[in-house]
């Protein structure tokens, strides 16, 4: 099965509203990263997390390694937030390996 389950798969948000994306892990994730992929395919690193939380502007992310999940909260969504969000978990397998979720496609509507 999927090692990283990401939800929801798609989301439409009214501009100015808030929402949360989630990743559940079936592996022993040691770190989590969140990325935003733009329509051209480029991936932008949003957060790199060890267990705990980080905040950057309107984005806030949390990683709970004991409960095996991570969340990405978007506050006051803007049009430029549209794109596909991916989480990637690193598992301590001897080789560093990042397992990706299947992404959440976010559309912010004016």
């Amino acid at each position: 099965g999927d090692k990283v389950k990401q939800s929801p798969s798609a989301l439409s948000l009214q501009e100015g509203t808030n929402s949360a994306l989630r990743c559940n892990f079936s592996i022993a994730a040691t770190t989590v990263q969140w990325f935003l992929q733009n329509p051209r395919g480029s991936l932008m690193n949003l957060f790199y997390l060890v267990p705990g939380t980080k905040e950057n502007g309107r984005l806030k992310s949390a990683f709970d390694s004991k409960e095996s999940y991570s969340t990405l909260h978007i506050r006051d969504a803007q049009l430029e937030d549209s794109g596909t969000y991916f989480c990637a978990a690193e598992a301590d397998t001897g080789y560093q390996n990042f397992y990706f979720g299947k992404g959440t496609s976010l559309t912010v509507i004016p």
């Binding site: 770190t31 990263q33 990325f35 051209r40 395919g41 480029s42 991936l43 690193n45 790199y48 596909t84 991916f86 990637a88 690193e90 080789y95 560093q96 390996n97 990042f98 990706f100 299947k102 992404g103 496609s105």
Partner: protein
């Protein structure tokens, strides 16, 4: 800041020919480079993981014979898709990080392979 330049951005190649893509890390040491393929359905597949001064580890369903990778130094890696066919289509992404100063993964902008 840390950046990864990946090129070419897009290649159209005839079935059975090959495509080479390159990644250049700027602003950090790419001790490890992972090559991924993203399917049209957005799923990421790890092709191989390369660490400088170590053997390249290929994932199941990917081989060195089909996807030879070079990682000669701390700033450069390349991968070739040999004898490309329709099933090799997709966006190929290189992700690089410095194991000695944190594992933040920086991606190139991707090389899209179109096979005709």
């Amino acid at each position: 800041g840390a950046l990864v330049y990946q090129y070419p951005r897009r290649t159209i190649c005839k079935s059975g020919t090959s495509m080479r893509m390159e990644c250049q890390a700027v602003g950090f040491q790419a001790t490890s480079v992972a090559w991924y393929r993203q399917s049209p359905q957005k799923t990421f597949e790890l092709i191989a993981l390369s660490t400088v001064n170590s053997a390249i580890k290929y994932e199941q369903n990917f081989t060195q014979e089909k996807f030879p990778i070079s990682h000669p130094n701390l700033s450069f890696s390349s991968m070739t898709v040999l004898n490309a066919y329709l099933e090799d289509r997709g966006l190929y992404l290189c992700g690089a990080w410095d194991r000695d100063s944190g594992n933040t993964l920086y991606f190139g902008e991707g090389s899209r392979l179109i096979v005709v």
